[in-house]
Symmetry: C2
Subunit: 432 residues, 2 copies
Amino acid sequence: MERAGGARGLAEAGLGGGGESGVPAAGAVAAVLPAGGCGERLGGPTPKQFCPVLGRPLISYTLQALQRVSWIKDIVVAVTSENMDMMAAIVQRYRHQRVTLVEAGTTRHRSIFNGLKALAGDHPHSRLPTPTVVIIHDAVRPFVEEDVLASVVAAARDHGAAGAIRPLVSTVITPSADGCLEQSLDRAKHRASEMPQAFLFDVIYRAYCQCSDHDMEFGTECLHLALKYCHTKAKLVDGSPDLWKVTYKRDLYAMESIIKDKISQQICVVADTEEDAECIAFLQGLLKKELEVQGTSVTLCPNGQDLQKIILGDCYNFVCINMKNSDFRPPRQLLAGLASAAPSPFYPVAVVSVYFLDSQNVSLSEKMKEVMEMKDFAKEVKKQNVFFYGVLIHFPQDNPQQLQEHVRQGASIVASLIKDRNAGLVGQLLIA
Amino acid sequence: MERAGGARGLAEAGLGGGGESGVPAAGAVAAVLPAGGCGERLGGPTPKQFCPVLGRPLISYTLQALQRVSWIKDIVVAVTSENMDMMAAIVQRYRHQRVTLVEAGTTRHRSIFNGLKALAGDHPHSRLPTPTVVIIHDAVRPFVEEDVLASVVAAARDHGAAGAIRPLVSTVITPSADGCLEQSLDRAKHRASEMPQAFLFDVIYRAYCQCSDHDMEFGTECLHLALKYCHTKAKLVDGSPDLWKVTYKRDLYAMESIIKDKISQQICVVADTEEDAECIAFLQGLLKKELEVQGTSVTLCPNGQDLQKIILGDCYNFVCINMKNSDFRPPRQLLAGLASAAPSPFYPVAVVSVYFLDSQNVSLSEKMKEVMEMKDFAKEVKKQNVFFYGVLIHFPQDNPQQLQEHVRQGASIVASLIKDRNAGLVGQLLIA
Ligand SMILES: [Mg+2]
Ligand SMILES: [Mg+2]
C-alpha cells in the first residue's frame, strides 16, 4: 500500500475539516473506489477507467468529484499491480488529494475488501484512520455530485447501509432454459441499483469478513452482502441520471461532450485597452448569446492572482481583444500567467485572440511570418494544456459599416472554437 | 392516415423485392414505429425522436436503418396530430420510402395498436397489405442492423413472437414499501428486454384486440401482451450494444459522435492533375493514418455519375488537391456534381480544398479578397449540406525541404476538419 501524491496536508489546509457542509460531523467518512476492471466491453486494450477524456484519464474525473467534497477524509483506490505506477502518476500529475492506492483483487468484491482492509482498525495492513461511514463508488461514474454522496452517507448512518437507485430504462424479463420468455417483471415494482453506496464501516467490513468464496467470485452488489451477512436492509435513495456508468465507447463520447458543454459556460474577455468599450461590449454580448453561457466577465490584462481566481471560478475560456495594434501577437502575458496559475489544469483552457485588420497595403509574406510564429507559439503552450487560436476580423477602412457584420461572424467563430476545443486546430488564424 | 412521400414505386424499383437476403420470402414483413412520445426525459421542448443530430431529426436515422432493409415492405409510423406535418416534411425532405403515417394514441400501446390497425385486413381503416410478420421498433433506436431484424423475424415465424435482449448493466432490486432493499435479483438470471421485436401479425393483433384498458394505459411490453392474451412465449434473441435507446441528452451526444466516426471512414481524394502523383500519394497516406480510415480512393475530377457511385459507397469526404494554380478557387465542378448527385444527403459532406502557396511577393489584400469569396461560397453550399473548408500549405520556394513537414501538418488539419465537421468553421482557410 502506498500513499500517493502525499498531498493530504495541502488538501486539509486548503479545504478545511469536515462538518461545514451537508453531512453532520458525527464520525469520519472515507471512500473506496474499486478500479481493477479490465474494461473488455470497450473493445480496446485500455481499461475504461484509464481512457483519456479531453486528454485526462477517466478515473481522474471521478477522483476530482470525490476530493472536492471536503468531508470525505480518505479515498482508497484499488488498482491492479500492473496499473499501480500509472495510477500513482495520475494522482501526482493532477495533484489528487487524500488518495491512497491499494492492490486490487481478482474480482470487484475482492478489490473492495482490500480497500476496506486499509481502513480497518483490526487489520494488520491498515494504515489509515477507521471511518464511521464508508462510501463505495465506481471509478467510471465521474459525475457524482455532493448532494447524492451526502444523502447516502446520512441514510447509512441511520440504516447501516444505503444506495442510489434509478428507475429501470428497459423492462426486465426472466428467460426460460430454452431461451424463451418466462415472465416480464413489473417495471414499477423494481429499480436499478446504482452507485454510490454507503455503509457503517462495521457493517460492510463484517459482511466482507464473513463473505463466501462464491459471493466474492460472482457477486457484484454490496447492498446484497450487507443484507445477507448482517441483516441490514439498505435505505434506497433516488439518484440523478448523471450517475450513469461509463460502459461503452459511446459513453466516453457522451462524457467528452458533457464536459465540453460544462466548461464552455464561463468566458473571461480580456481587453488590451479601456477604449473601444462599445465594440468589446458588442462582441461580449454576441458571445454570450452564441454560447448560451451563464457568465462572462471583462477584465484588463489580469495578473497571476486574478487568473487563479478566475480559473478556480470554473472559467476555462479567455477571449483576448487586441485593439491597440495590428500585429498577430499572441497574448504572452496572459499565457505566462495561466501557466503559473494552473500548471496542470483539469481541463484544456481555450484562449482565443481576436485581431482587427485592414489588409490594404500589407504584404502577405510579412503576415504569413506572423501566422507561422503564432502556430509555433500555440504548439508550445499546448504542452500546458492551453489551446490557443487566433481570429482575424477583417474590415476594409474604406467600408467601416462592414465591421459590425464581421464582428458578428467573428463571435460565431470564437464560439465554435470554444465549444469544439479541437486540439488539431490550435495555432490557426480563423478569418471573419 | 396518409401515405407520406409516395415513394413506394421508386423504392421497389431501386432496391428490388424481398427474399434476396437473409429472411425467407414466406409472407411479407412490415414494421410499426411508435413515435408519439413527448420526450420529457431530455428536458427540452422537442420530443427526442425529432431532435436534430448533425442537422437531421433522430427519427430519420431510424427510418433510414429500416428502409435499407429491402424485405421490410411497409413502415408505419405513429405520430401525434400536432407533429404530423413535421413528420410528413421529414419523410419528404429525406425521401424516406415505404413510409405510412398514422395518428399516435395517448400511450405507447395505443400508438402501436393504431399502427397495426393500418395493416389489419379486417379493420375499416386499414389501407396496406396485411403482412405475415410485423416488426415493432422504437423511433429512438437508430442503429438497428439488418441481422438483428432478420433474427427476430425468423424467430417470430417459428415461435409467434421474438424480441432482442441484452445483459443487465445494473443489478435490479425490489424496494419495500418504506423504500428499503427487499431483495436483489440475480443478474445472471434476468435480461433487459430491448427492441426490435417481431410477431406473427395475427398473434399481436389478436393480443391488442383483447387488451384491457389497464394494459393499454400502463403496460410497455409487447412481448408480455402476446404471452398474456395469446399464450405465445416469445423467443429471446441476443442483441448488440448498438440497440441502445436514445433517452437522455448524453445519448444524443453519443449518437452524434458515433455518426461522425462512421462517416469519416472513407475519403475520396480528387486531384486537378495527374502530375505530382508522388506528393498526392504522400498526402493520401498521411490522411489514411491520421483518420484511421478504412478506405481512400484517388480520382481525377469525377463527374456526376462517379460522384453518385462514390456517395452510395458511403463516402462523405472529399479532399481536393489543387496543384495547377495558386488561387484559392473552390472546386466548383465537384460541388456542382455533388449537388446534383445527392440533393439532400443523409449526412453533411465534408469538402476540403488543399492549396499550395509561396507567399513571396503576394499582396495580402489580393489574397484576402479570395478568402472572403471562399467564405461566401461555403455559405452557399452549406445549404446543400456540404461543409467546405480550405487548407493552405505554405512553403517558401527558397526552402523546399519545408514542404514535407508542411504537408504533414496539412494532413493533420484536414483530418481534424473531417472528424469534427464543425458547421461554424465552414469557409475557413486553415494554414499548415
Ligand atoms: Mg487503521
Ligand atoms: Mg388492409
